[in-house]
Symmetry: C2
Subunit: 187 residues, 2 copies
DNA sequence: CAGCAGCGAGAACGATCGTTCTCGCATCTG
DNA sequence: CAGATGCGAGAACGATCGTTCTCGCTGCTG
């Protein structure tokens, strides 16, 4: 396999810097230094900073989807697959670099000005909700449950980031169990 | 009663602009124009932009606390007081100007760089959780429930902002009912 | 070897940032 | 009336932003 392309290096470096410190706080000069490329090369790979931001968000979307999907594939049964989401969150929250959901952060920072960022963030969250809805449907539970499980996951991400502790994942998981079992017993 | 002071005008204007468009996106010149004061006056009331940001967050914290508290006072019983939080959210989400939780947005935008913002945001969220914990305690339910109800509220705020719809409030309320009743039946 | 295309280093550009300074007018004090 | 004070308007400052341009080296092709 070939080593990563220049564009990938740029995206990975930008992702790390933007996530750590915020998008507007990281200038193109800093990105150039950290990625070890020339400014000329930066602008030959991407037309502008906006394009890098979009590429970073799209890469992050694939990573999240793949990560959640892999975690869900490890267990059997729809109920366990739903709960696997919170186990995935628990691992993520433990990472030193964890600083909340990159999409929520980008939305808070740029969502007021940049309609394209709004669109990407919204699509990311909708796709997660759709995936949950599929599994909830397999369970035979109402779609409302999928939305509620998503609320728990979103709340856990922001709470873990702000509180600086990962305990929200376990709390969300326990709440999810109650909601799932209640939905099943009502069906 | 006297009309609002210059400092209050500045804070209220800054709050609106920062919330609508993001903090870094709003410069001091724009704030001066919108508040109708001179730049000189801006810097005589506040030593720097950071101080305005902090003042805005602190005002927002009082507004949130007072608003939730007033809403909870309208109903009787601990269970209804807890659920009143989500009714408060539902009203808020319907406002045209709603763009998510200002603290979460500020955290996403500045939390990576500004430790003071981190502290204020964390304190705000902790104070909300403490208030929930008091009422949960009155109910005789375990403290875990308070954390879970907070997760639902946080998740509803970000989801409503990103999706651009207020339905998350009702979904969170329904989930809260299930969690509360489950906690009570187990006690 | 001559000529050319590609690219890195970094200067340069115009815009805008937060912040400070200058100037001139208005209002008060004696 | 003379002088001082306070403040608004806005120019000025240095820094930094995103972006483009220049220059000079490197390695290819004929």
């Amino acid at each position: 396999m070939t080593s990563e392309s220049v564009a990938e290096t740029i995206i990975n470096t930008a992702d790390r810097l933007y996530y750590e410190r915020g998008i507007t706080a990281v200038g193109m000069a800093e990105l150039r230094d950290a990625a070890g490329v020339s400014l000329r090369r930066l602008y030959s790979e991407f037309p502008a900073k906006d394009a890098i931001v979009r590429a970073v968000l799209e890469k992050r979307h694939r990573q999240w989807s793949d990560g959640v999907e892999a975690r869900m594939a490890e267990v059997g049964g729809s109920r366990e697959r739903l709960l696997a989401v919170y186990d995935y969150l628990a691992d993520w929250f433990c990472e030193d670099s964890f600083r909340g959901c990159g999409f929520i952060n980008a939305f808070g920072e740029l969502g007021g000005e940049d309609a394209e960022v709004r669109r990407i963030v919204r699509e990311h969250k909708e796709s997660f909700q759709r995936r949950l809805a599929e599994i909830v449907d397999d369970l035979g539970a109402p779609t409302l449950l999928a939305a509620q499980l998503a609320l728990l996951a979103e709340g856990a991400q922001t709470t873990a980031a702000i509180a600086g502790s990962g305990e929200a994942a376990g709390q969300a998981r326990a709440a999810a169990e109650v909601l799932i079992d209640h939905a099943l017993s009502a069906a």
